[in-house]
């Protein structure tokens, strides 16, 4: 590989994408810690996909395409849904690679054409966008292609086509946003937009469970035959050569054009990847009190970190179908009030939210030495941090309790009582065991402490069940409450032992 060449630059991008932004240990242990989870994650779909592909045997002459008859409508809908989903990851990837990482000054200062640098970065983004889907689809698809169903090559190829198109559009869109709004607002818009897309796609996949009528209508629209050339993506995915070649051509042209135009605009704008921001005049009022100082500081930092907010919002979005199912289940069972279901949902939300915020304010503290140097005891600071971590979750609990109070006072009381305990215990658990890390490691915090991640989920489930049963007036509420209490007691004991 020629240093400075296109392939060399792509390898550089992929290496950075693979390593992420977290703190990595060095040496073979570091390599193992970084690589083993990825290999394990990849091994399941690879081995499973190849195994399943082989198990289906050599295709019979009548089933040479994908092996089953399916109209182009649903296939097209899947291809477009995948493209939309990829748009969210591509936008984030472009933002990080082109406007955040800050290695562009180094690369563009090197005696390498800017267009080559940005083309390599574009390919790097496209590959990282496609990789999770390729890992899942390619082992099975390519195995089936070898065993007589070449149509599957179309499916695998269309994943790459989707990723290239999504990246091309993301380069243009994100570049336009940065030029129009400035780096910081553009970052907020992109991150919130990406989260909204991701959340919407997830909710759409869950729609048959909690909104069956709407899902049925959407499905009816999707299965209708699409006019040419709108049906090209579907026909390409089904392995038809001409549409497949056309889609590949369009994707390659789009990403080349986006990278070239992006390179020109990028170099002309002088965006070094870390763009400054216009200062807005704000009034800062000085107030007394340590707790207030810490709460205000933490809330300011959280509010100014859109990536963090979107990640937290996504975690909550993933709970919406379960909450909706809970409410629907009660109505289907003849219950008149949704109060207990709302109590459970609000409690689960509050538990996970408090845990997330506790990690942010305790483990991801930017200046621990400043706090350690302050003339305050560690216990006083820890208490203030706990208040900061639970401020928003407890507000959410209060809102849920007020909302349900008029129709179901018992559920309101359960929401408030259990919700408060749940939020505080979840925050305490995280504060005890959260390992120091930068805020950017929020998504990977569960990897840093698997036990705490699992403990947090069990705690959320236990407190949610307690709230639900208590709202129904069931004495069985004591059982999940006992489970939660045992988790906290065990954690306290483990902490004491560790200390």
């Amino acid at each position: 590989m020629t240093p400075g060449g296109f392939a060399w630059l792509v390898r550089h991008e992929l290496r950075l994408a693979l390593r992420g932004t977290g703190r990595a240990r060095t040496g073979w242990r570091g390599w193992l810690a970084r690589t083993a989870p990825l290999l394990l994650l990849a091994a399941v779909p690879v081995v499973g996909g190849i195994g399943l592909g082989i198990a289906l045997g050599v295709a019979e002459p009548g089933h040479r395409g994908l092996g089953f008859d399916v109209p182009s409508g649903p296939i097209g809908a899947v291809v477009i849904a995948l493209f939309v989903l990829m748009m969210s990851t591509a936008a984030i990837g472009v933002l990080r690679t082109f406007h955040d990482r800050g290695d562009l000054d180094l690369l563009l200062a090197a005696p390498i054409p800017a267009a080559r640098v940005l083309a390599a970065k574009s390919v790097g983004v496209a590959v990282s966008v496609a990789a999770p889907f390729i890992v899942v689809i390619a082992p099975f698809g390519l195995t089936r292609a070898v065993l007589g169903q070449p149509g599957w090559i179309g499916v695998v190829t269309m994943v790459g086509v989707d990723a290239m198109l999504a990246t091309a559009i993301a380069i243009v869109a994100v570049g336009g946003l940065v030029a129009a709004l400035g780096p910081r607002p553009a970052r907020v818009v992109v991150q919130l937009g990406a989260a909204a897309i991701g959340g919407a796609v997830f909710l759409a996949t869950q729609a048959p469970s909690f909104a069956p009528i709407l899902a049925r209508r959407l499905f009816d629209v999707a299965i209708r035959p699409w006019p040419t050339p709108l049906d090209w993506p579907a026909r390409a995915a089904l392995g038809e050569l001409v549409p497949l070649a056309a889609m590949i051509g369009i994707a390659v042209a789009a990403i080349s054009l986006a990278a070239r135009r992006g390179a020109r605009a990028f170099v002309a704008s002088g965006d070094s990847g870390r763009g400054g921001a216009k200062a807005q005049t704000t009034t800062v009022r000085f107030h007394a009190g340590l707790t207030r100082a810490i709460v205000v500081k933490e809330l300011r930092l959280i509010a100014r970190d859109p990536e963090l907010i979107t990640q937290i919002a996504l975690r909550l979005i993933y709970l919406i179908p379960a909450a909706a199912l809970l409410v629907r289940g009660r109505h289907d069972g003849g219950a008149t009030s949704s109060g207990p279901a709302i109590a459970a949902a609000a409690t689960a939300f509050a538990t996970l939210l408090a845990s997330s915020f506790a990690w942010i304010v305790v483990a991801a503290e930017d200046a621990p030495d400043l706090l350690a140097a302050a003339p305050r005891t560690a216990a006083v600071i820890a208490r203030a941090k706990l208040i900061a971590a639970t401020a928003i979750p407890l507000t959410l609990v209060a809102v849920a309790a007020i909302a349900v109070a008029a129709v179901d006072p018992a559920a309101a009381a359960a929401t408030l009582g259990v919700g408060i305990v749940a939020a505080v215990t979840a925050a305490q658990l995280q504060a005890w065991f959260g390992k120091p890390a930068p805020r950017s490691a929020f998504r990977r915090r569960a990897q840093a402490s698997f036990v705490i991640g699992v403990g947090e989920l069990i705690l959320a489930a236990a407190w949610a069940a307690t709230a639900n049963l208590l709202a129904q007036g069931s004495a069985w509420a004591a059982a999940p409450a006992l489970v939660a209490a045992m988790i906290i007691a065990g954690a306290a004991e483990a902490r004491k032992t560790a200390a």
Binding site: F286, A293, D369, L371, A373, A374
Partner: protein
């Protein structure tokens, strides 16, 4: 320690010891008088930063005692910390806060009256030429501006003992002059400053006394004239003496560990 020394000394370190994989500070004895600017010099890994972190209450010593303004830092760490401000070479800042918000936070940590804190914050930001950037987030600042914002944070509670680890790192000539003037003014106002620096000219021109440590021990201490006399070289520069005493060809670099 005696009552008289606690009246005259800002900092008294006795038999201080700290070991990690190797011994970083090895029975260090050091005294800094009230109202003086003391420069602590030493080669990389001599134990300067470890010593300062122990004085700031960030590291517990393995042995020895630290007395700050007559307060035993081990017996009453909170009272001791109230007297101290510590500014490491990497500024203790929050990128997403503005300088004013940062100062509001630090003032809250040290329990400063809000009206006093607001007035001091404005005064400090104006002195350090950051007032026009008071509403910009620190993430947009240059290294020098961050260093100045962190210095403002260190001064917001008017500490009796100001500890600075490489305070001039990353500052341009104008900003460095501002900071040096500010330190001199504090010392004239009977404040006490301890700093480490790799710029020996700064120590030579600003410091009332200079201490040189090597391998965690104080190997020389005194005014520039006293150091020269002890070395028996009347015209020697601080650099010559540093190299002779610290046993290093190069003075410490910014951000050196230990």
């Amino acid at each position: 320690m005696s009552g008289t020394s606690s009246m005259t000394n800002a900092l008294t370190i006795t038999g201080l010891r700290k070991a990690f994989a190797t011994v970083a500070v090895d029975g260090l004895d050091l005294t800094v008088r009230r109202g003086e600017l003391y420069a602590l010099l030493g080669p990389n890994g001599a134990g300067k930063t470890t010593t300062l972190r122990m004085v700031a209450g960030l590291l517990p010593p393995d042995a020895g005692s630290i007395d700050i303004m007559g307060v035993d830092a081990h017996a009453d760490p909170i009272a001791a910390k109230r007297q101290v401000a510590y500014l490491p070479d990497e500024p203790l800042l929050y990128d997403k806060l503005t300088p004013l918000e940062y100062l509001d936070f630090v003032a809250g940590l040290w329990g400063i009256d809000p009206a006093t804190a607001a007035a001091t914050a404005e005064d400090l930001l104006r002195t350090l030429d950051l007032w026009d950037q008071r509403d910009a987030r620190c993430e947009t600042f240059s290294r020098g501006m961050k260093q100045k914002a962190a210095l403002a944070g260190a001064l917001i509670h008017d500490p009796a003992l100001l500890i600075l680890d490489e305070p001039l790192t990353g500052l341009d000539a104008g900003a460095a002059r501002t900071v040096k003037d500010l330190l001199v003014a504090r010392v004239r106002g009977n404040g006490t400053v301890i700093l480490t620096t790799h710029i020996l000219e700064v120590a030579e021109r600003l410091a009332d006394r200079i201490g040189i440590i090597r391998a965690g021990r104080l190997v020389a201490e005194g005014t520039l004239a006293e150091l020269r006399a002890a070395q028996g070289e009347a015209g020697a520069s601080l650099e010559d003496m540093f190299i002779a005493l610290a046993g290093s060809q190069k003075p410490a670099k910014p951000g050196d560990g230990a």
